[in-house]
């Protein structure tokens, strides 16, 4: 049974068809959510929300685009909204932690390349970070990113360019080794 038939049956309330669509797309959705959040509990929560929302709104899916593309639009919406809430919470938590660690003056050891890379990606502005991860890491096209984020492909290209430039600067210490 192809995807068009599956979505048609989901619209009729067929739970087996829902499960078939879920099985076909869950891994991709989960790993995108995990890539963006870095936490399995959040990835799990986001993935559940994505599929619940997708099945709730299946009537809106007209079949013009592949189901996966439509699903990834929902994925990005769910993940980005969820991450914003988590970020607000983490910021509040960080303030509390800083307040309790004022006396600590021990300097951290220089992080290695992987840690520096992770820090540099985390430090990117949200639009740049999302675009970089979606395009360079997850392989989405600029058109797909534009559709998912509600922007244009041109905006996506500009965001990617800025993200790469910032990452190059942040990891400039290692540039010599790479070029050689």
């Amino acid at each position: 049974m192809n995807e068009r038939e599956l979505t048609a049956r989901v619209k009729l309330g067929d739970e087996a068809a829902e499960r078939a669509l879920y099985d076909a797309h869950v891994d991709r959705v989960y790993w995108v959510a995990y890539r963006m959040s870095g936490r399995h509990d959040l990835a799990q929560d986001f993935t559940q929300d994505v599929f619940i929302r997708a099945f709730d709104r299946i009537a809106d899916y007209r079949g013009d685009a592949p189901f996966g593309a439509w699903l990834h639009t929902i994925t990005m919406s769910v993940v980005l909204n969820g991450l914003r809430k988590v970020k607000r919470f983490d910021q509040r938590e960080a303030v509390l932690e800083e307040a309790g660690m004022v006396t600590s003056s021990v300097r951290e050891a220089e992080p290695d390349l992987k840690e520096r890379l992770a820090q540099a990606i985390e430090a990117l502005p949200e639009g740049c970070r999302v675009t970089f991860l979606m395009h360079d890491v997850e392989g989405f096209t600029h058109e797909e990113i534009g559709a998912a984020l509600g922007t244009t492909a041109g905006t996506s290209k500009a965001q990617l360019s800025r993200a790469r430039a910032k990452l190059r600067i942040a990891l400039a210490d290692f540039a010599g080794d790479w070029i050689q």
């Binding site: 799990q44 993935t47 190059r168 070029i179």
Partner: protein
Amino acid sequence: MTDDEMNEQPNDAIQDERIRSLAVGHYNAPDGTVPRDAMWAQISAARRAARSGVAPVAAVAPAVDQVEQSPDVIPLDSRRRTRTIVVWRWSAAVAAALVIAFALGRYGQPANTTAPVGPMVAVQPPTTSAPSHIDPVPGSPETSPAPNGPPPQRGSEPRQVAPRSSGGRSIVGGPTEVASADSAASALYRAAAVQTLVQAEAVLTAYRGAEASTRDPQAMQQAARWARDVLSSTRLLIDSPAGRDPQMRALFTDLELVLAQIVQLSGTPLQDSERDLIDRAMRDRDLLPRLRSAVPAGSATS
């Protein structure tokens, strides 16, 4: 302009590719397996609840509980919490309606009459020569003799309504006010009864859903908590004027039995015999069909 053309320096392309490959391999890279079945259980429960118009017990309870217990987890979807709030609002509305109805019934009922007030009373138009009277509707249970009092008067001998006093101060100003209070009370009883029946149907549907598909202990406990609330309302209604209708009383009594079983048995993992007991009680009494037929169309969404 392609992505590569955006790079100002040739070396930038090398750096970008290196960064990209590092990110693919090391930045939140996929590890382990996707918990497909666990997530599907939650999705399926939420979908089933959405189809039946019931708050998703299986999906809501763990999420809300985790959020409340763990400082690391943020409630990500306000719809879940909203559904839970709706359930509590329904409970609060039923409780408030019952309290008001009891208050009106208590203060609106004439002191010297033993016959019940409620949906079975009708008001005679007031005359100039005599105060208004309240007559039972012919053929209603009101016309049968009250167990502890004199038989009700009929036809040309309407019983009189005396104002009820408290401490020398008249609480009910006159017969018209008594009838008005009775009418308001009976309307509230009816509304409370309908709301309770709607909630009961939702609880039983949620219980069957949680029991049949996931058999999730947390979902069962949530159903038990919800059933406890509805059980309280049901018991109040049995003793209210709404429970004087024999058909409604039988329905409330059967409902009370099944809800009590769910409350008592759902706190722990159910044995097959216990599950059969509840299922048989629901099936033998045709409880869900009777509930659905007792609720006027459109009441569930109002």
